[in-house]
Amino acid sequence: MSLAAPIISPARSGGSGETLIGKSVPRLEDDALLRGQGRYVDDIHLPGMLQAAFVRSPHAHAAIRRIDASAALAMPGVRAVYTSEDFSPHLVTDRLVVGLPSSHYKQDHHRQVLAADETVHVGEPVAIVLADSRYLAEDAAMMVEVEFDPLPAVSDCRAALAREAPLVHRESPHNLLAEFDMTYGDTARVFAEAKHVFRESFWQHRGGSHSIECRGCVARHDAMEDRTTLWTSTQMPHAAMRVICEILGLHERQIRVVMPDVGGGFGPKLVTYPEEVCVTLAARLCGHPVKWIEDRREHFIATTQERDQYWETEIAVDDEGHVLGIRGDIVHDHGAYTARGINLAHNSAENVPLGYEVPNYAMHVKVVLTNKVPVTPVRGAGHPQGTFVMERLLDRVARELGLDRAEVRRRNMIAADRMPYRTQLKARGGQWVTLDSGDFPGCMAEALERADWAGFPARQAKALAEGRYLGIGVANFVKGTGRGPFESVTVRIGPSGKVQVLAGAAAIGQGTRTMLSQVVAEQLGRDLSNITVTTGDTDATVMGLGASNSRQTVVAGSSAHVAAQTVRAKVLKVAATLLKAAEAELEIVGAEVLVNGQPARRIALGSIARALAGTAGYTLPGGVAPGLEATEQVIIDDMAFSNGTAVVELEVDAETGGVHFHRLVFVHDAGRMLNPMIVDGQLAGGIAHGIGNALFEWMGYDENAQPVTTNLGEYLLVTSTEMPRMELFHRETPTPINPLGVKGVGECGVIPMTPAIMSALEDALSPFDVRINQTPISPAQLYALIAANAKP
């Protein structure tokens, strides 16, 4: 266990009593949610509100000849139908231009607000219907006649690269959206000279995030103020506000975006969607508030997805299994539009060598259009694919050289004494990727010890003698978290004495409000009940980046910490003046400042705030600036790298292909933990998602890019009976790159699960010489592999 000196020491923090940092305090969010008093977007009821339903393309690729809404409009209770033609006079641009910058794009394909002449994936919105109830809106949506002229579609991203492939967009020159290399060293030389070169192909399939709450939004236009408020189930309200302003040609005071409680995000809700623009504009045009709530089928065909990649790779090693180089090609399925950028393919290529000494590396990446739902981050965001490939390659090396799989890893891992370790990789913003801290070999060693890796061969042999197939697998990962450059946090104390925290961070169920409360209360009285937190409101915080990249504790936590320290310093300075005491004698206790040992001498935080609000004609106490608040945007450009190791022990039923977990040990290092209970929860959810990616979640499309899994009966999420008991262990190596020493954790659980499980499955089925280089793998597929190799 790493026991570096704490970055926050009690002596440097404020308040009385015990520190709140590192304590599993109960979440502030829970009480309302447990009572059914959460306020999610579908819980918003406004007078006169109309309900929206979208008419969507049933074709993966089609020309739109004509739209006739007359039958729909004639239905009772139907108030409006808007098409692209109706909206276009009100739009500065009819495209959502949101792609992250890159020099690697070969063509731009931005989503349409509503499809005009061409639709390029099933589910693309074509028209919006407003009615008195959702039932009526959905009835009417079916009555909007759209004359489509189907065009050839392309489903497989490899096929899309063929010269004769149908074009995803009929006007495009080809289907290659972007192409780039991630290269360092001299791979050509090392591969020419290496004693051992092994080649592997991998396929990793796409899935969805499937937050249990689908997307949805409510817009209300205030004609008096010419201002529209959009409540939306998003991870990035500030981005939504900017996109909507740009498209509608409005200034920033004319759109307010607010996140209500959000029933899970997991990536796709970081995207601003056409539906949010449509609902906002519809509310402005029709004069009524408008609500749209996505149903699950829409979530399958219109909410972004991720992970389809095909890899052709080679690894060069010496006789001892030391990696000399890795090279290969990635074909990344981008879907039909750029709804985020080419960051996923970048993350995947960057992630491969991250935890290991890989002296030479060359990955050629093609980002390819298909007639499918756009691809944007899903929990893990490209990193799981890179980790899968690296870990599977190391397993191959171990098998070929007759080495233990953990030993091959140990020989190649970056040693703890090499931190900070500057890699030869560049992040998407161009800065060098530097691993800030961590003890990767120590983490793996702990996981192996806890899982009794050394004792497994005996367990396996015993089981095999009984005709049972046990396997064990290990996988390591390193994940950049806390992507900057900043998050904005204001800490303010008003005359009420309540400490208000206003953050650009976005709360989507991860306990963000509790985290911010702990950080701020630590400096300002250590009374969590005296803290109020507002997140996800563009009126409360001018700037904000929101929830993505496992970033909030790192960037928002750091800004909250520094802002609270600034307010604390001011509190103490003014209190010293008002109490005629030295600052060193003062202590903030709850909502008051006390002079040490003299409880009679005290002043309320609210009184200090009132004094700093100013009284006409009187000077401010303490010679300070007015007001008791601070806004901070702590700039953190580098990532804080979390790491971990998963060990999975499982059993395969060779007669059915069924998989049963025996143990799942997960050792993780997210730096200093602010709330271990919440860290456990974040890891556990990620692990479950990773198990789903390995064994259950398959987003099917036929050869014409028609989705074939559009409900939760066909697309399987892992359930309670399939989940093993997770054994979670933490190591805390504080990062030096932020003042709290914290690293992110939201995506970490998912990352090593697919390679650990596939490694264990291959191990279990070693008598059948089964090889698994894909995700997911179903029982039927496993059974087929077993049957194909079963000795007669």
Binding site: L34, D42, E213, G509, G511, L712
Partner: protein, 185 residues
Amino acid sequence: MDASTDNTTRRRIALTVNGRTVEAEVEVRHTLADFLRHQLELTGTHLGCEHGVCGACTVLVDGRSTRGCLMLAVQANGCTVTTVEGLAAADGTLHPLQQAFKDHHGLQCGFCTPGMLTTLVELLADNPQPDEHEVRVAISGNLCRCTGYQAIVDATLAAARAMQAPGAAQRPVEAPVLPAARAAR
């Protein structure tokens, strides 16, 4: 029955919801979940899939866990319905399951939570001392994307212990299961 009501599209129903007698006119095609959420404004019952898989909309109908999205409001005529809003005691004290969820981090985003709670109220009424596997089977029809289920299982086992402890308050929430009454309906 109101004579002016068009019986083919709207009907009057009377039921008990969270101990309160409710009489309302409903559209015959409206689901129980939509009726609870939008007509009674009991928005604690959530809709996650509207096709009966995710379990978020689970409520208790005559003590039995029921998908609010797969039952029509008119079918609840004469029934006793308990939603998540009806679980806490009248004085606001959380139900032991709610308290255990809070203590054991059994919820994150909170969207599946109402369905989990109602499902587990039924479990503990039927089986006051379940083992881990029985808890997992009970919630195997409720999807959660946040927790990996483990904290929910742990919370349930803790709640069961708390409810068995000497002096534990008797909870009236679990409407007794009356097979005879159900059969008669």
